[in-house]
Each structure stands twice: as structure tokens, then as C-alpha cells.
């Protein structure tokens, strides 16, 4: 079998307000594995979605062996032998059907034609054949809901190759896998490669990419940066290309006095999602938690705040042990969390600005018998709107109608009203415009200056470098490095975050 070359030329796509891809070129061929890498928001996933026919409003052309092809729908892509395994495996599987049914889903849906009855023997036989061909031992009659995450991934890979598969895109496949499971996945990748399948591998874990891939394409800010053969490049040069020129973020000067240890965690575990996390934060200190998406930052923040019920390990405040069994208890112990999923978890989108500001500390706005003091509540909201610079028509506006940056200011402002001791920020600048970002940094710095302890978790390393006093780097649920800001830089942080040393 000869090699088939896939080319994407000058692909551009725009979404309301963002140019997600800008004249991107991408070339790969069957029988090799190709790494696609870039920082968050670089456009890797968008590019692959274009290739899979998820969008139809892009410009540019796609060619297979020099022949122009038209990919405007997932069906187009599949007919050309382009298959993808998305990161969220659960969205692509039907949990209460068997492994075999899931593997053969496409065939059952589109190839049955006029036949009205399902041939069960055929489904089980075919599925078993596919599973055997990649040497995966999952019983075809087992329900998908009973599988582990990595087994689900295998089922999806099996589904992809059950049909004509020339190119297989794996979107961050290793993020949720253990080391052993990752090795199993790599075995399959190598196996498929030897059978003349082209693998496109999206990952943040550089060490892995260097182990498994032949070529690497780097993207940044929706643009193509470079394409090289893996043997001709190094991890450090890829990191440089990913970061590009350093963005000049405007971080306010931090003059806070770092005092005694306020918060300490000792061997915090959460059901395998975080592993023996021990760290401490002083008063007036901003501690950065760096790490890639899926490194366990969010899980750590939630474990601290009592969101997860299965946390073990100790949390101490000023040397006194506290138990945050629920967020309610955490708030009482002086914790505040600004969660990552703003619209889902951070603000009450259907409620007014006033209700949002007072939600975490409603007890301060009461008259006798738990009656609400509407006047006091609305005065406080007006005060916060002014001091945080929230752009809203009035304090009675529904939060849903405000921009992302203003919503985030409200999510933070809620905890300023509540006055906590430990402020935990999880990706607070996600989806926030530049102006609002600066305001948020100023707010966070001001908290430290008032003697609060701040934990700032982000995968934006430039932000971590800009705002933190001290940094912990997380990888695979563990803290792998603790550094002072003055002793490190973005490149080193990225190296640690990708599993390097």
C-alpha cells in the first residue's frame, strides 16, 4: 500500500468576535504519527474539527493526494476515511448499549439501508474482529457504562477503525490515562501506524509526543508556526515556538507583606484525581498553581473547597485542622472559590447582579426573622459595581446579559462581599477580554495586599509568572515542582508542566 498525503491549505475560520484559524497549513501522511501542539487557544482542536467536517463555514482547501476534496459535514470526512476520537469519550458513547453495538454504531445507523432487523451475530462477530485486530480484550457484550475510561477510549478507537480509516485523530487521548494505560494506547498507535494509518495526535504532554510521533506541527494564536521531524528538534525549541513572543500582560506591582503560614494541606487525595498534594500558603501571598489542562488543578481547588466528597488528607488553617466536607463548611472556615466554569458554577446567570453579590453572605443582609434587607443589599451591590468597575445598566440587571469579564468580576465580587481568608481562583481569566483581565489582576493583588492568602490556578503560564509570588507545578494530579517566581521563567514552567524536569 502506498502512502497517501493529506494537505490542508490556508484554512481560516471565524467565530463571532474571534478569528480562530488564520491561513493555517497542515500536511501529514498515512503510516506516520503526527503531533499537533500549541498552547490553550492555539487552534489545534478547531483545525481538527474542520478536518472532520464539524464546521462548514471555513475557507481554504483540503487535498488528498493532490486531489481537492470537499469536507463540509462529518459524513464527508468519514467517507474519506478521516476518523476522530474526541477527548470527551462519554459524549460519543451510548452507555446502556453493549461494546459491540457501540463499535458498530455507524454501520447500524447508516449502512442498514432497507433492512429493518438487526443481525446480532453479525454485530458481535464484526466487533470482536475489530477488537482482536488491535489486540484489545474487552468483552463485546459488556455494557459501555461498566467500562473504565481507557477501555471506553479503546472502544472509540475500535469504532473509528471498524470502517475505512486512513487518518485517525486522537484529541488529548492520554490526559485521563494512567501510565500503564498510556502505554497500552501507544502500542495500539504504533500498531495502526504500521498498518498504514495516519495518526494525528493532539497532546500537551511533550515528552509523550517525542516518544510516539514522527513529525510535529506547532500552532500559536490560530496560526501555523512550524513543522519539523521529531528527530530534528528538541523539547526546548518546541516550547519556544509554542510561546512565541512574550505577551506584555499588565500586572500591577505587588507590595504585599508576606506573613505567616495561613493554609497548609497535607497529603490531600481525591479518589485518584489528585495524589498526595501537600502545599502551604502564607498570609499576603499569591501562590500560583501551574499545570496543563487536566493536570488536576481544578480538582485540587475543588478538594480544598469541600466540593468533592471523597477527599482524604489534612487541611489546616493557622495550624488548626479544619474539615471542609461541603462548600457550606468551607465558606464557614473562611474559604472562597471562584470556579473555572463561570456560567455553570460561578455566577447565577438567571439572577440579578444584586442577588449574585449577596449570595455567599446573605446573612449580612437580614433584618429580624431572616427577612431580607433589600435596601442594604442593593446599596452594597451599587458600591461593588463602582469599586470593581462592573459595566452593567443597573444593579437589577440579569447577569446573563453581561459580558464574560463583567460576570467574572461579579463571581469574584461575591466573595469580596463575603470577606474570606483564603481566596482560590481557578482559571479566572478564561474567556475574559484584555481590559477586564487587567482589572481582575488588580483585584487579586489588592487581596494579597490586604493580607489574604490567594491560590491562583491557571494553565496560562504567563499569568502565573506575572501574578504569583511562589509557584507549584502540577502534573498528572501531583505537585511535581515548587519554585519561587524569581528563580524560574515561563519556559521552565512549561517544561515542568509537560512532564519534563
Amino acid at each position: 500500500m502506498g502512502k497517501t498525503v493529506l494537505e490542508m491549505r490556508e484554512i481560516s475560520i471565524e467565530f463571532p468576535g474571534v478569528k480562530a484559524l488564520d491561513q493555517v497549513d497542515f500536511t501529514t501522511e498515512t503510516g506516520s504519527s503526527h503531533a499537533l501542539i500549541g498552547a490553550n487557544g492555539a487552534g489545534k482542536s478547531t483545525l481538527m474539527k474542520v478536518l472532520c467536517g464539524a464546521y462548514n463555514h471555513y475557507t481554504g482547501e483540503i487535498l488528498i493526494d493532490g486531489q481537492k476534496v470537499n469536507i463540509r459535514s462529518p459524513k464527508d470526512a468519514q467517507e474519506l476515511g478521516i476518523q476522530i476520537v474526541y477527548q470527551e469519550v462519554d459524549t460519543a458513547l451510548i452507555p446502556y448499549l453493549s461494546v459491540a453495538e457501540n463499535i458498530m454504531l455507524n454501520e447500524t445507523v447508516s449502512d442498514l439501508g432497507k433492512k429493518q432487523f438487526v443481525n446480532w451475530n453479525h454485530i458481535y462477530d464484526e466487533a470482536e474482529k475489530v477488537l482482536k485486530s488491535i489486540n484489545v480484550h474487552v468483552p463485546p457484550k459488556k455494557l459501555v457504562s461498566e467500562l473504565t475510561l481507557s477501555e471506553k477510549q479503546m472502544v472509540l478507537i475500535a469504532r473509528a477503525i471498524s470502517r475505512d480509516c486512513k487518518y485517525l485523530i486522537l484529541d488529548e487521548p492520554t490526559a485521563p490515562l494512567s501510565i500503564h494505560e498510556t502505554e497500552e494506547l501507544f502500542r495500539i498507535v504504533r500498531d495502526l501506524r504500521s498498518r498504514n494509518v495516519g495518526i494525528i495526535f493532539i497532546s500537551h504532554r511533550l515528552t509523550e509526543l517525542f516518544e510516539i510521533c514522527d513529525e510535529i506541527t506547532v500552532m500559536r494564536n490560530g496560526q501555523f508556526v512550524s513543522k519539523e521531524n521529531i528527530p530534528d528538534t528538541t523539547i526546548n525549541s518546541v516550547i519556544e515556538q509554542m510561546l512565541g513572543q512574550k505577551l506584555d500582560e499588565q500586572f500591577p506591582p505587588n507590595t504585599s507583606q508576606i506573613g505567616e503560614v495561613l493554609l497548609e494541606t497535607h497529603k490531600l487525595n481525591d479518589n485518584g484525581k489528585i495524589d498526595e498534594v501537600s502545599m502551604k500558603v502564607h498570609t499576603g501571598e499569591i501562590v500560583g498553581i501551574a499545570g496543563l489542562v487536566g493536570a488536576g488543578k481544578t480538582e485540587f481547588c475543588k478538594a480544598l473547597f469541600g466540593v468533592s466528597p471523597k477527599v482524604t488528607g489534612d487541611i489546616t488553617i493557622k495550624g488548626k485542622k479544619v474539615r471542609n466536607r461541603t462548600p457550606h463548611a468551607a465558606v464557614k472556615n473562611g474559604f472562597a472559590l471562584v470556579p473555572e466554569e463561570r456560567r455553570k458554577e460561578g455566577v447565577l446567570v438567571h439572577e440579578t447582579v444584586v442577588t449574585n453579590f449577596s449570595a455567599a453572605s446573605l446573612n449580612n443582609f437580614l433584618k429580624v426573622f431572616s427577612f431580607l434587607d433589600f435596601r442594604k443589599e442593593s446599596d452594597k451591590a451599587k458600591e461593588m459595581i463602582k469599586s470593581l468597575g462592573v459595566k452593567t445598566p443597573s444593579e437589577q440587571t440579569i447577569v446573563e446579559n453581561l459580558s464574560g469579564g463583567n460576570q467574572q468580576k461579579i463571581a469574584i465580587g461575591k466573595w469580596l462581599v463575603a470577606d474570606a481568608d483564603v481566596y482560590i481562583f481557578d482559571e479566572p481569566t478564561k474567556g475574559v477580554d484584555v481590559g477586564a483581565k487587567k482589572d481582575i489582576f488588580t483585584l487579586i493583588t489588592a487581596l494579597a495586599e490586604r493580607g489574604k492568602s490567594v491560590i491562583y490556578a491557571s494553565s496560562e503560564l504567563s499569568e502565573i509568572m506575572g501574578i504569583s509570588d511562589r509557584i507549584y507545578v502540577m502534573y498528572d494530579g501531583r505537585i511535581v515542582k515548587e519554585v519561587m517566581k524569581k528563580n524560574t521563567d515561563e519556559e521552565k514552567l512549561l517544561l515542568y508542566s509537560t512532564g519534563g524536569n
Partner: protein
Amino acid sequence: MSTSNTDTAKKHGTGFDFFDFMYKYGTLILIVLLVIFFAVMNQNFLQTSNLINILRSISIVTIIGVGITLSLSVDGFDLSVGSVASLANAVVISMFVWYQQPTFIAIGAGLMAALAVGALNAFMIVKVRIPDLLMTLATMFIIQGVALTYTRGATISENMIMSDGTYAEGQISPFFEKLGQIPWIIIIMFVAVIVVHIFLTYTKHGRYMYVIGGNKEAARLSGIPVNKYKVLAYLLSAIFAAIGGMVLASRVMTAEINAGGPYLMDAVAAAFIGFAVLGAGKPNAIGTFVGAVLIGILANGLVMMSVPYYAMDIVKGTVLALALALTYYKLK
């Protein structure tokens, strides 16, 4: 809190928006139109005695409906209220007739029985995590059966023949008898509506319940004890269902088989119609009352026009479907 008007104004630009207007005032306009229509068709409709009659007829629906409103406010749903009303009805009458208990013990027993059901609902929903609708569907059957078993499948009434052949000696107290009569039945209804309205709109607890109903996860991450309030909602829902059942008991002075059952659908309809009243966009006590008024007027007017009672459910169901259409089309 009239809060949802800003966003529609934005969506549709300035100027008069017919749909938004209908969403807010549709129910009220429909009530006025119905009143005019029935008044024209039958002169007796607008007589004071008939209006009072309507209020009396909707009072039990309204009382049970505000209970459902409370469970809806935390984004829950309590289908067991009809059965709870039957149970409370049976318990309170049996306390008088079988056991010759004084009024406060009879009423207390009815409330305790309801609280037990509310606690069961709350435990299974909050701790075992069965979806609200399904769990309360199960309790609906269970409690219907419990009430039937308790009354041995028979109607309880004064001077009934007991299983040993003697007559029941207990009497229903004159005080209890008054609860189901005008004006007390109407007063109880208004008190229930006003208390729930104040509770939901002006107290911390009501605010928390709406916040939980709007976004459970965000509420939890704001430090609100979500489970505690869900439990509270189901207990309160059961209590209002019990009050409804006991008022019913007082009105008919007997405990019929599954007497509370038919009130479930009317109360649910009233609560959902109430979503849209004055553009509230969420469950609210005043809206539930207006919803009950709408259903009551329809039923009363149609009976006066000699529409047979067995066709009434067609009309009620249609009104509910229309109200739901308004609410969900708006939410889209």
C-alpha cells in the same frame, strides 16, 4: 421581582412586543375575557354568591398548589401531594370518629403523617439521589395505598358501622367543622398564599430556594446548604398538602377513598400557569393563586353553561398546555 423584562427588551429591540405582553398579562387578560363571556352567557355568574362559590371551590387546589410551588422553587417536583392530602384527610377524620380525639391532636396527627411522607421523599431524593419526579411518583402510589389500607378501603364518616358491628361513637368537633365553611376556608387559602409569597420573596430562605432552583451547582459553590433547603421544600410541600387534605375533610366531613387524588393535577396546573403571571418566569405563590382562579372560573362557568362535568378535564388540560407553551416558548 420583575427582572426578566430587560432581556426581552434587548432581544426584540424597542417598541411594543406582543408576545412579551401576552406572556406577562395573558393569564390575567384571559381571566377577564372569561368573566365577561360567562357573565354575558349567564346572568347568575357575576352574583356575589357565585363568586364566593368559585373562591371556595379553588381554595383546596390553591393550598396544595402553593405547596407544589415550594417544591418547584428548588427545581424539584412533588407528585405525592394528592396522596398526602388523602392520607391527612383519612387520619384526621379517623382521629375524630374512631378514636374520639380532641381537635388539636387530630390535626397534629394529620400533619405528622404528612411530615413523615415529606421526610421520606426528601431522604430518597437528597441522599439516595432518585430524581424528584420519579421518587414522588413512587410515593404517590405508596401513600395512596397506605391511606386505603388505613381506612380498610372504606369511607370513614360519623356513625359509620365498625367491623365489630357497633356504630362509631366519635364526633367531628364543631371547630374543625368550621374550617371547611365560608369564610374560613377562603381565609385559610389567602393566609397560605400570603405566607408562602412572603416566605419566597422577602426572606433569606426563599432567596436561597430560588437560587438553588436556578442553578444548583452555583448555589452549592456559594456555600448555600443545598440539601438542607431541598429537604425543607419537601417537608413544606407535604405540610401544605396536609392542610389542603384536612380542609377537604372538614368540607365533606368524611374521608372518602383517595379523596385528595383529583386535586393533584389541578394544583400542578395552577402552579405552572402561575409561572407566567406578570412575567415572573419562576414558581410563585401569587401566580399559583391566579392559576387556580383561572381553572376555577373555567370549571364554574362551564358547569353553568351545562357542559357536563366529565368533559371538564379536556378544558383544564388544554389550559395547562397553553400555559406551558407560554412559559417554555419564552424560556427558549
